[in-house]
């Protein structure tokens, strides 16, 4: 009799345990898909890039099943707020406004912005020197905010994503672009961009130093807490470095 009870109890516990594991986290992750090498769509339409690989590593660490969706940059915050997905892993840097609208993780990489242009035409990048020139930046980016504030006399052209801005530069429709320096590296290394280079001294302005964060909709701090733990774990177990080294010649953390 006693044995029967014990066995039943054991089975019950096992069944409960199984139920608990079966009830694993299912997450929908959004990224832009137009920001190589961080996130982009490959020839067959799959999302690839540093952000995507980091997101996948985090999902594995959190024991979550994740599905990915590509969302245009302009819509990415609005649709998060409509609960269309749980997380945004899209090289998003923090601004005061974004911090108000979303929960955000610890930084998962750091970067800074830089101007890219024809080095023979531009050396000085002060607002005075760039007066009247056309500068492109992605819309709703920290770079566009920075330009609006600090380069009122330049003509600022906002593009829907970074590839569009880069195309404008190549086509000669803009004179400079202000973008993330790591993002620009991929662009500048392409053979088509050989006449362009980083211009100006390193930008030490705090505003243009930025860190990328994973975000979730306001109120979902629990999920962000899990993401932070997973982030620490992949940083310590080498997964992060492996992904980093696949995309960049040096650590971007």
């Amino acid at each position: 009799m006693k044995t029967t009870i014990l066995v039943t109890a054991a089975i019950a516990i096992l069944a409960w345990g199984n139920a608990a594991t079966a009830d694993e986290l299912k997450l929908k992750v959004a990224t832009e898909g137009a920001y190589p090498p961080f996130n982009s769509l490959d020839a067959s339409g799959n999302l690839v890039g540093f952000d995507v690989d980091i997101a996948k590593a985090l999902c594995q660490q959190m024991n979550a099943t994740c599905s990915f969706v590509a969302v245009p940059w302009d819509d990415i915050i609005g649709r998060l707020e409509k609960n269309e997905y749980d997380l945004v892993v899209a090289s998003m840097s923090l601004t005061e406004e974004r911090a108000k609208r979303m929960e955000y993780s610890a930084p998962y990489y750091r970067s800074h912005s830089a101007f890219a242009a024809d080095p023979n035409r531009f050396k000085d990048i002060s607002p005075a020197a760039l007066k009247g020139f056309r500068i492109a930046a992605g819309s709703q980016t920290i770079q566009s905010e920075y330009l609006k504030k600090n380069y009122p006399d330049s003509k600022i052209i906002l593009t829907k994503d970074q590839p569009e801005a880069q195309k404008l530069l190549q086509a000669g429709e803009v004179d400079l672009i202000l973008a993330d320096s790591i993002d620009l590296l991929t662009f500048l290394q392409a053979p088509e961009s050989s006449k362009f280079d980083y211009v100006g001294d390193p930008v030490t302005n705090d505003f243009l130093k930025s860190s990328a964060h994973i975000t979730a909709h306001k109120g979902n701090a629990e999920l962000i807490k899990k993401v932070n733990v997973a982030l620490d774990q992949i940083r310590l177990n080498g997964t992060y470095d492996r992904i980093n080294n696949a995309y960049f010649p040096f650590s971007i953390y």
Binding site: S181, Q189, P202, R235, P249, F250
Partner: protein, 454 residues
């Protein structure tokens, strides 16, 4: 007891409360200490996790990045290919700028110098290439060698900077890591010591409590029990117990000591009373009751051993007239003198004398036959008649006594009272034979006393 109320003494209840208080105090202190201590460890661990560890990791990361920067600079120096130089220089640019993200000005400045050096190398190389192809004049070997010299110098200075940076980076990380491990070690040692103390103290307290119980409760109780036993055995009167530490035990001790005193007093009183009950107050000879008891014992002994036993009944003659004539005081003196005579007889040979009643005395001689008994009786009669007793008016009183003798073997006696009765009859005979004479009944002589002439 008041003389003993010296030195330290505490009540057991108070000691118990004190112990409980100490245990509670200790528990609170230990808990408080543990909480504070564990909090400190927790905050240390958090500090290590949040501050030191990231710092060590970032130093480590920067060291690797500096190495990477050095290898980029080396590649650029060796590349001598425009396209490759451009790729490497772009990487160098981003890498060098990434150092500005850390708050380390010295590092950032060093790295920027390397970046500038790399730019210079690229510029020199571009100059050489322009000389080679651009001008069409062909290279001037001297100028070219000079430019190469400049490129080499720039490269070497860049290498010196990166070496210095990575050196300081690695040693900084090592110092940090060493500090961290030192902190951990110190904390571990503190935990060790703290727990040894936390664990040893209760053990020491328990040992102390057991010692106190054994030394100050069990031992005193045992000595109290021994005291009670010695009182029961009527020994160690007026014993003193060592003063106990606990007041409750003192009370018990006082009770035991009082009991001991009362007990020994009773014992003494008892023996006095016993002596008094067996003694004649006036002559201090044995009284009739104790004489009869003694006689019974001697009779039984003689009957058992088959030895003889003699009884003398001594009666002072005309004692009433002495009393009447000289007063009771003198009568008492006569009785005392008689007692002295009998006592002196019993000092010479084994006999027991007693005042049988009034002016009548009795003496028992164990192992004495009739002949010897008559001789002793005669000796007593003579001694008494030779006594000269003076009154306070210098009158001389002379006394005489009649003695009746009976021996065990001179008749058939079943009990000591029969023997006594026989001696009494012999005394009666002596009285009727004119007094101041020793008489015994003949062996067949248990005749009717009435036939004896008065």
């Amino acid at each position: 007891m008041t003389a003993q109320k010296k030195g330290f003494q505490i009540s057991m209840a108070a000691a118990g409360r004190l112990l409980i208080g100490f245990v509670l105090f200790y528990a609170i202190v230990a808990a408080g200490f543990s909480i504070v201590f564990l909090r400190k460890i927790e905050s240390d661990a958090r500090y290590t996790q949040e501050q030191q560890l990231p710092l060590v990791l970032s130093q480590n990361r920067n060291a690797i990045k500096v190495e990477r920067l050095a290898s980029l600079a080396r590649s650029i120096y060796l590349a001598k290919d425009r396209e490759l130089e451009r790729q490497l220089q772009l990487q160098t640019h981003v890498l060098a700028q990434s150092f500005t993200l850390d708050e380390n000005n010295e590092l950032a400045k060093g790295v920027m110098d390397v970046g500038a050096s790399v730019k210079r190398i690229v510029a020199i190389r571009e100059q050489v290439r322009r000389m080679d192809y651009g001008t069409g004049i062909g290279p001037d070997p001297a100028v070219r060698a000079e430019l190469e010299e400049q490129a080499l110098e720039t490269y070497q200075s860049a290498m010196r900077v990166t070496d210095k940076l990575s050196q300081s980076m690695i040693s900084d990380a090592a110092v940090l890591a060493y500090g961290m491990s030192g902190d951990i070690q110190r904390t571990a040692r503190m935990i060790q010591i703290a727990w040894i103390i936390i664990l040893i103290l209760p053990v020491a307290t328990a040992v102390g409590a057991i010692y106190v119980v054994a030394r100050h409760i069990i031992t005193p109780i045992n000595s109290a029990i021994e005291g009670l036993q010695s009182i029961d055995r009527h020994e160690g009167r007026n014993f003193k117990l060592r003063r106990p530490l606990f007041r409750e035990l003192s009370t018990i001790y006082e009770a035991i000591e009082a009991y001991g005193r009362v007990s020994s007093d009773l014992l003494r009183t008892n023996s006095i009373l016993q002596a008094l009950s067996e003694e004649d107050g006036l002559t201090t000879l044995a009284n009739r009751r104790s004489f009869e008891k003694r006689l019974g014992e001697e009779f039984a002994k003689a009957a058992q051993d088959g030895t003889d036993l003699a009884i003398l009944m001594v009666d002072l003659d005309h004692f009433k007239s002495i009393n009447d004539h000289y007063g009771h005081q003198m009568g008492d003196t006569c009785l005392k003198m008689t007692a002295n005579v009998l006592r002196s007889v019993c000092a010479e040979r084994e006999c027991h004398a007693a005042r049988y009643g009034g002016e009548e005395f009795s003496v028992v001689f164990p192992g004495c036959n009739l002949q010897e008994a008559i001789a002793e009786a005669e000796k007593i009669r003579l001694s008494l008649s030779s006594l000269i007793i003076k009154t306070s008016y210098d009158e001389v009183i002379r006394i005489t006594a009649s003695v009746g003798v009976a021996t065990l073997k001179s008749g058939k006696f079943e009990t000591s009272s029969q023997l006594l009765e026989n001696a009494d009859k012999a005394l009666y005979l002596a009285k009727h034979s004119g007094r101041n004479i020793v008489k015994s009944l003949p062996s067949s002589g248990r005749t009717d006393l009435k036939s004896i002439p008065a």
